[in-house]
């Protein structure tokens, strides 16, 4: 038995991405008299060794042309089938996949992802439309969550993306998004501008008439 094969078994049985830290925690667990001998050899494995073993597994799968691979999603590793096999897997599993997200849902998600924590009004300032309905859909689908309240007047709710968001789009983490730096840098400027306008015109936050484009 090797570290590599143990990790493979863990990834095989897990139904969510496993982080190196989670794998290490599993390996570090104490055993009793019977199991101790088997466990002790892998007790002190470092996260770097786990990562290296996972890389080896990836290479193994490529070399033996397996139908699955190890994807890095939401900070963890997960066995996933290769896209080429979707044709058949869809027939087996696709029955209750949720419907695709609308363009307005994707735009809203993109803004939340870069600017979190962010209030509804702030999202609307970027998109130029009411986002009430879209935001509710995103909350229902677990892609966005309420993270707290802003210190702005009225203590509006703030929103952020979830683990499910990363999983849905197959992202390793938020840094995995394109041009993260650039889109965040605008943030600082925007906050300064927002502070200025908030001081000048608080009436601006009045809700506009119901929008039509908030379908999901």
């Amino acid at each position: 038995m090797t570290l590599k094969s143990i990790i493979e078994a863990l990834l095989f049985a897990a139904h969510k991405p496993l982080s190196p830290a989670e794998i290490r925690a599993v390996l570090a667990g104490e055993g009793d008299e019977k199991t101790e001998a088997a466990l002790v050899g892998f007790r002190r494995v470092k996260e770097a060794e786990i990562a290296a073993a996972i890389e080896e597994l990836k290479v193994d799968y490529i070399q033996s042309d397996r139908s699955f691979t190890i994807a890095e999603i939401a900070g963890g590793f997960q066995l996933v089938s290769k896209p080429d096999y979707a044709l058949w897997l869809k027939r087996l599993l696709d029955v209750d996949r949720p419907s695709r997200l609308s363009p307005s849902a994707l735009e809203t998600l993109a803004i939340v992802a870069y600017r979190q924590p962010i209030t509804r009004i702030e999202i609307e300032a970027v998109r130029g439309v009411n986002v009430d309905g879209v935001l509710r859909t995103l909350l229902e689908r677990g892609l966005v969550k309420i993270t707290g309240r802003s210190d702005l007047p009225g203590r509006p709710l703030q929103y952020g993306t979830t683990q499910t968001f990363l999983e849905h789009f197959g992202l390793r983490d938020l840094e995995d998004l394109p041009a993260v730096e650039e889109l965040r840098r605008i943030e600082a400027k925007r906050q300064r501008a927002a502070a200025a306008t908030a001081a000048a015109a608080p009436a601006e936050t009045g809700t506009p008439p119901a929008a039509t484009g908030t379908s999901t």
């Binding site: 095989f12 049985a13 897990a14 139904h15 994807a71 997960q78 066995l79 996933v80 089938s81 290769k82 896209p83 096999y85 979707a86 897997l89 599993l93 996949r97 695709r100 997200l101 363009p103 307005s104 994707l106 735009e107 998600l109 993109a110 803004i111 992802a113 870069y114 970027v126 998109r127 130029g128 439309v129 009411n130 849905h168 789009f169 197959g170 992202l171 998004l177 394109p178 041009a179 650039e182 889109l183 605008i186 925007r190 501008a193 200025a196 306008t197 000048a200 506009p208 008439p209 119901a210 929008a211 039509t212 484009g213």
Partner: protein, 246 residues
Amino acid sequence: MVENDYKVRLEIFEGPLDLLLYLIKKSEVDIYDIPIEKITKQYLEYLQVMRMLSLDIAGEFLVMAATLMLIKSRMLLPAEERAEQQAQDEDEGEEPRWALIRQLVEYKKFKDVASYLGQRALFQEQVFPRHEASAPEVGSGELKLGDVSLFDLINAFNETLKRVAQRETLREIFEETYSVTDKIEEVLWTLGERGSVKFHELFDHAATRAEIVATFLALLELIRLKQVRARQDAHFGEIVIVKATA
């Protein structure tokens, strides 16, 4: 032909910024150097068409129309007055034209990210992780359980029957008999394997009403014999069956 173009496009605009971006792209001009007069004219034409089609024009579209006209009117001012106005704008924060351009540029970037996310989602649709149902999740110790009344059980049973009634209509009926005794063993075996099981999971593989009834009677019998207990974490919540000793 032009009007048809409008009709098609209108549905897919996500808002006034989206419409503006479209107009800018169509005119093949630099976003930083928008010919305000031309774009404003086209924008207002679109609103006109929306009205003709008696579409509800969202308030945001009208606010943007006002902004565009404000910017246009500023540009019509004589040079010295414009400079005056600019000085005043700087005191107030930002010139409306630049504020709009900045907003457009920013919105454009998020729109690009949105389409990137859309592509990733499409890719993810082709990729399947291990199937969730294969991993037992119950018994993680997170549930706060309270005992369930007979009415709750019957209610849950009724729901299950309804679900199967829908399935059943489309199936061939095979002659199969289920004894309550068999089902008692099946339920006990499942609980022996996993410690607890959700109510509906007991019926997931049942194909007919007869089978569901047998399973339900088995469950009632086991509860009467105090072999298992039915518990529920909230009113009308998911009912969970646990071993009585556990």
